[in-house]
Subunit: 489 residues, 2 copies
């Protein structure tokens, strides 16, 4: 099959339906001889103005879901061939720009269903016809509460970087009171200076992980190896609550710890405003994953959300690791029970594409790059979401997660010198091991017995099974884990 | 076919070859009832130590091409099913980590040839078996001179961001004289402070474009709209030569202008070192694309390369837009005729995947993220490169480019009040229009006649056809362009 696909995609066969007459010559003194028979059209052919009615209709549809300011027109990649790009209104254009120079060979897609994989359109300017429909079926069908717009990106770090930019732009527009930058703004930004490149900051939490590009990295504080030797920004870092588990047994102490952290957040916002680097946004994970599976209560997040409101900071929930069902709800922030949980929710990993949801006022008109994600990932995501619904996988996750956590509690009671602080929501579980060396050796012993686990924080093991991990698998895992732990007694 | 693919990928059919016996129960008081017949294995099965001999062999192969420090083992994704990941030595493991939590549903890939598209492995830790081979066939088969290592990334911005990090790490290791950070380095980096997060800089050029994430954006200086409202770094910005075209007619003046810019580069390196923000690397495009198709001579780049050597700065050539054949050579920097053109060459766009080549000493052990690119793009790239070779497309580009530039010279002579500074290498051509408004209206008129063009800089039109744009297409284009220009006379 593969060979056939490539043959169709790249073969230079003749196609008798396509006209091969040389174009009439209006400028050049001679038409170049056609030395090769080509699998394409014989010239441009225009039927409507551009964008035509169908493009306009699709732009209206897509405009409900994301910013369409940069879109030229929608494309029919199935009909596009060789050097000719065909739009959804049947206009056929000679392409001397090739998606901002990103197409190496040609538009050529005889196998329509595979065309999303082999064409990599510049989504921000020339999306395919089915893009609004696929976006609605995939990302928009699982929008967080209060958000009906999504911007796709190629990876998790790009998602957070671009979300930060949206927050900075939103904050500066709010400060200015309008969207029109001054001459001084425009001049100074070209040389990296304020006010055009303002001294704004993002408040993050110690132990948080938000990616490894330079903006993201300034908000990542989980391991030194991620940050070492890379220049950074002077941005505020708040303490994340260090809670005792199980949470329900330590409610009073944990509430005190959370209150201490929230107070510190407010202090930092005031301090950074005073030192001329106002906090434009706050970024936080619903469960600090890379940093050691650190939980906080719904009450903590509700209060933090209010602090963001009170100080005019955007509130960005990073669901790159927690999103897409692992906690038994589609988004981990749904456990907070809020109608207005965030201004921005970023995602990646299980979602197969990176990106972020945002409220209307975070119009990312200036959020742009060549690819803006990859439409093939939307197709896959739509199907993944169908399976999640059809198989009731969120219920499955809740059921398996309960069995997993109960099993960890039992093992913790059985091996009190080895295990502590078993915790989790859904199958998003973790347990602490007595020290880092033992944790690392347990990971290897489990692998040698056929179970793949991951570490996080200094001495935790994190469980991150797929959404089809059932009670049956939980027990296979617990059997192996018990065997491993027994070797340490 | 699509439906069949999905059926195979996501259907939960029974498979009589797979054993469904419940596992024996060593820990749990009861084995969970199996409520669903599953398309997977019945438990782990280990055959060798992990990594086994085949994994080790592949790691050795891949180690010749990129850093393998984080790789756990190589996977056989064809044999992996449901919750079980199978490695290349036949070990079958229950997966409770799922590629750093990035697999939503399952490993399941009955159609081996499509598995690269639907599985999205975490390449840095669990690459597929054919990854070394595909990397050798694709990226490594077109390595720039002096470079035999490549790191893939998801997009152009991530490529440059991670290349910057490689340069910073390299520079700090050089300063330290060894690779072992101090306690002070480790402590300070966690809170974004120096010396752990050092005050190093990247020198860039006015008019350059290197992407839009926050590190990249600090080196991008093409349009204010890209940079406005985003905090930045105080990094040095050198002037890029403003040359007169055709280059061969103004050699003396152009050489003076280039000498002025080179002198400024050296001054900035010294100044930034003096103010405590040493220049770790220099980034430059072989032709400034987004900034207006600004050329410089091979002599300029050779001298700039020497300045980087002299001052101990890394030299990073950004070929995101110029790479992959558009100039008639595979890499634009090949026109400089140097054996040692750069320390780092980044790419994206036409290459279908982002990434960067680097010299051995820029070992990116700490360059890591979940996806590290997308192996399906390597498969596509390998095929694209085969077509480029088989069809002699680089020769085709040189031939078409010559015809295109000759045509632009003729039109420029014909419309001297409208066109100026026609220039280009291969089909990577551009021409200036008398003012921005006219340029924009020409772009629209050409589109209405069925030719897609792009602008760059303030008033240039850039030509970026695909590699199969032949002389025949050049003449179609010139005819239409002539018709458009005639409307302005």
């Amino acid at each position: 099959m593969w060979q056939q696909v490539w043959w169709l995609l790249f073969g230079l066969e003749t196609n008798s339906k396509l006209n091969k007459q040389p174009p009439c010559c209006r400028f050049a003194s001679k038409a170049a001889p056609k030395t090769q028979v080509e699998f394409e059209y014989d010239g441009p052919s225009m039927k409507t103005e551009v964008p035509g009615p169908r493009s306009k209709e699709l732009a209206k549809q897509l405009g409900e879901m994301q910013n369409v300011g940069a879109i030229n027109f929608f494309c029919n990649y199935e009909e596009s061939r060789g050097n000719y790009l065909v739009d959804v209104d049947g206009n056929r254009m000679l392409d001397v720009y090739t998606q901002i120079s990103s197409i190496p060979i040609v538009h050529r897609s005889p196998l329509s269903l595979l065309s999303a994989f082999v064409n990599r359109p510049a989504l921000g300017i020339l999306p395919p016809e089915n893009f609004p429909e696929k976006l609605a079926e995939s990302l928009l069908s699982v929008s967080p509460s209060g958000m009906s717009r999504a911007q796709t990106m190629a990876c998790g770090s790009c998602s957070n970087e671009n979300a930060f930019k949206s927050m900075f732009i939103w904050y500066r527009n709010k400060e200015r009171g309008h969207n029109n930058p001054s001459e001084e703004d425009i001049r100074s930004c070209m040389i990296n200076q304020s006010p055009g490149c303002p001294n704004l900051s993002i408040l993050s939490f110690m132990g948080g992980f938000h990616g490894r590009t330079m903006g993201c990295l300034a908000t990542t504080h989980s391991k030194a190896i991620h940050k070492l030797d890379v220049p950074s920004f002077d941005w505020p870092i708040a303490p994340f609550p260090k809670l005792k588990y199980p949470l329900e047994e330590f409610t009073r102490e944990n509430a005190q710890e959370e209150a201490r952290c929230l107070e510190e957040v407010e202090d930092l916002i005031v301090q950074w405003r005073q030192k001329g680097r106002p906090v434009a946004g706050i970024i936080i994970e619903p469960i600090q994953a890379e940093g050691g599976d650190n939980h906080a209560s719904p009450d903590f997040f509700r209060k933090l959300r209010n602090i963001a409101h009170k100080h005019g900071c955007a509130f960005h929930v990073d669901e790159v690791q927690t999103g897409c069902g692992a906690t038994g709800k589609f988004w981990a922030h749904e456990h907070w029970g809020m109608e207005d949980p965030a201004d921005i929710v970023s995602f990646s990993k299980k979602m197969l594409t990176g990106g972020f949801y945002h409220k209307d006022e975070f119009q990312p008109y200036r959020i742009f790059n060549t690819w803006m994600g990859d439409p093939s990932k939307n197709l896959l995501l739509a199907e993944v979401l169908n399976v999640i619904r059809r198989e009731n996988l969120l219920e499955e996750v809740s059921r398996s997660g309960k069995a997993l956590l109960q099993g960890l509690y039992q093992l913790q009671a059985q091996y009190p010198n080895l295990l502590s602080s078993a915790r989790g929501v859904g199958t998003f579980c973790a347990v602490d091991i007595r020290d880092e060396a033992t944790r690392n050796s347990i990971l290897i012993k489990a692998r040698d017995k056929g179970v793949l686990l991951g570490g996080c924080g200094d001495r935790s093991i994190r469980f991150r099974p797929a959404l089809v991990f059932k009670e049956y698998h939980v027990h296979i895992f617990l059997n192996v884990f018990n065997d491993v732990l027994a070797e340490y007694n």
